[in-house]
C-alpha cells in the first residue's frame, strides 16, 4: 500500500518535470517562429527598410541559389577550417608558452609585464601587420584566429600550473623525478580539465579572429561574404552569412562541450 503510494508520487513528480520541459520547448519554438514571421511581415509591409533588413524568405531563396552554385559551401568550409586550426593552434601555443613560463620562474618574472600589455591589447589591431607579414591568405587568417586566444590561454593555464598541490611534486621529488618528469606526471595531467575548458572559450574567440581576418584579407570565407555584401549593398547576403555563422559557431561549441564531457568523464 505504502509502496504503491510512493510510486504514484514519484510518477507524478516525473510527469511534472516532463510537463515543464515541454513548456520550455514550446516557448523556445514560439519565440523562433514569432521572430522570423514578424521579420517577414515587417519587411513585406515596409515597417522596416527591406533593403537593409531583407527578409527570411529572400534569405532562404539566396541560401538555395548559393548552395546550388557551390559558393556557400566552399566559403563555409574555408571559414570552418580556419577557425578549427585557429583555436587548436591558439590553445596549443598558449599551453606551450605556459609550460615554458612554469619551467623557468625567472623567465616568468621577466615576461610578466609584457604578458599584461599583450593581454590588454586588442589583438585584431595586429591584423594589418599579420597580413603584410604572412601575405594575405589562409595563413594570415589562421594566425588571426590563433593570436587572439594565445595570451589569455597562457595566463589561465600558467595560473592553473602554479596552483597544482605542491605535495604531488614532493611525492615525485622523493622518487628523484626531474623537472620534466614532474611536469609530465603531475602538472600537465592535473591541469588537463583547465586546458579543455580554455578550448571551449577559445572556440568563440577564434571565430572573432577569423571573421575579422577575412574582412581584411577579403578573398574567401564567410567574413568575405559579409564584407562583399556590405560593399555591393546586398544585405540579404550579409544576413545569410550571419545566420550561417551563428549555426556553425553553435555547433562547434556544442561539439567541444561534448568532447570535454567525454574526456572529463574518462578521467
Amino acid at each position: 500500500m505504502q509502496d504503491n503510494q510512493t510510486n504514484l508520487l514519484h510518477q507524478k513528480y516525473i510527469d511534472s518535470l516532463k510537463r515543464e520541459k515541454k513548456w520550455v520547448r514550446f516557448y523556445q519554438i514560439l519565440i523562433f517562429i514569432l521572430f522570423f514571421s514578424l521579420w517577414e511581415l515587417a519587411s513585406q509591409r515596409n515597417w522596416v527598410d527591406p533593403l537593409i533588413f531583407s527578409s527570411p524568405s529572400k534569405i532562404f531563396g539566396l541560401l538555395l541559389t548559393k548552395i546550388q552554385d557551390g559558393t556557400l559551401i566552399a566559403n563555409t568550409g574555408i571559414t570552418l577550417m580556419e577557425t578549427v586550426f585557429g583555436f587548436i593552434l591558439g590553445t596549443f601555443l598558449g599551453t606551450l608558452l605556459a609550460a615554458i613560463l612554469w619551467w623557468s620562474p625567472f623567465l616568468s618574472k621577466v615576461l610578466d609585464p609584457y604578458l599584461v600589455v599583450l593581454n590588454s591589447m586588442p589583438k585584431v589591431a595586429l591584423g594589418p601587420i599579420l597580413i603584410v607579414a604572412l601575405s594575405p591568405g589562409l595563413t594570415s587568417v589562421i594566425a588571426m584566429g590563433a593570436i587572439i586566444s594565445i595570451i589569455i590561454t597562457t595566463i589561465v593555464i600558467y595560473t592553473a600550473f602554479k596552483e597544482v598541490d605542491p605535495n604531488y611534486l614532493k611525492v615525485l621529488q622523493t622518487f628523484g623525478a626531474t623537472r620534466l618528469q614532474c611536469f609530465r606526471e603531475a602538472i600537465l595531467p592535473a591541469c588537463f580539465p583547465t586546458i579543455i575548458s580554455t578550448l571551449k572559450v577559445n572556440v568563440g574567440l577564434s571565430w572573432v579572429g577569423v571573421i575579422v581576418g577575412e574582412f581584411l584579407v577579403a578573398s574567401k570565407g564567410l567574413g568575405y561574404m559579409i564584407i562583399y555584401g556590405f560593399q555591393v549593398f546586398n544585405f540579404t547576403l550579409v544576413l545569410l552569412s550571419l545566420l550561417v555563422i551563428a549555426v556553425f559557431a553553435t555547433l562547434m561549441y556544442q561539439l567541444v562541450d561534448y568532447i570535454e564531457k567525454k574526456l572529463i568523464k574518462s578521467q
Binding site: 605535495n167 614532493k170 622523493t174 622518487f175 618528469q181 606526471e185
Partner: protein, 256 residues
Amino acid sequence: MSFLEIDHVHHTYFTKTSATTALSDVSIDIEEGEFISFLGPSGCGKTTLLSIIAGLIQPTQGKVYLEKNPIDQSSYKIGYMLQQDYLFPWKTIEDNILLGLKLSDQLTAENKQYTLELLSKMGLNGVEKQYPKQLSGGMRQRVALVRTLATEPKILMLDEPFSALDYQTKLKLEDLVSNTLKAFGKTAILVTHDIGESIAMSDRVYLFAANPGRVHKVFSIPDELRKLTPFNARNHEQYTNIFQMIWKEVESLYAR
C-alpha cells in the same frame, strides 16, 4: 658511525621581512632497523627536518649522512609518506604504485611482480585497475605505503600519515605499518603530534621544542613495549607510565 647521522643541522627560512630559524643545532644518530618518532607541536621544525633528511631542501648549516654518504647524492633511497595519500587521481592504483619504479627506470617485470605482491599483502586484492577515488581513506593510505615501499627505500619517513584518518582506521593502519616495516627490517622516522602513537610505534621518541625548533628530550621505549604491536602496546601497563612522563615534559614546554 651510525646508519643515518644528522650532524649539527641548522636551518633558517628567509623572507623579505624576516629570517625564521626553523631548526637549531639538531644532531641525531639512528641505527639501521630502528623506528624513531619526532614528537612535538606544530612549528617545531619536524617537517623541515624530514625534508632535509629526504634531500628536498638543503640545510643552511650542517650535514646529513646516510651510510656515510652525504644525503644529496642518495636521496632516492628514501621513501616519504605524507599526511594525505597524494595518490594521483588520474592514474589507476597499479600506475600509482609503479610510479617510483618508472621514474627511477627500475620498472622490470620482477620489480613489478614484487610491488603487486606487496599490494595483496596489504589486503588490497583486485583494486589494480581501479582509481583512487573508488577506495576508502584507509585503503588509499595503504596504497600510498605500497607506492613508497615499491622502490625498496633504505629509510622511510612518515609525515603524520595517520592524522587524516578516523580513529579505528588509524589504529588498524598503525599495526599494519609497524608489522610491515618490522618484517622488512626498514628504518623509519615518524613525525607526529600524538604522544600515544609515538610510544606505541617507535623504539625512541625525540621530543621537539619550538622557536627555534630543537631536540628537547629523548625517551627510550622499554623492550616490553617495542616487542608488541602498537595496538597491544597501548594496553600495556608500562605505556601509561611513559605517557605520563612525556606528558609532563610536553606540559612544561607549553608552560614556558
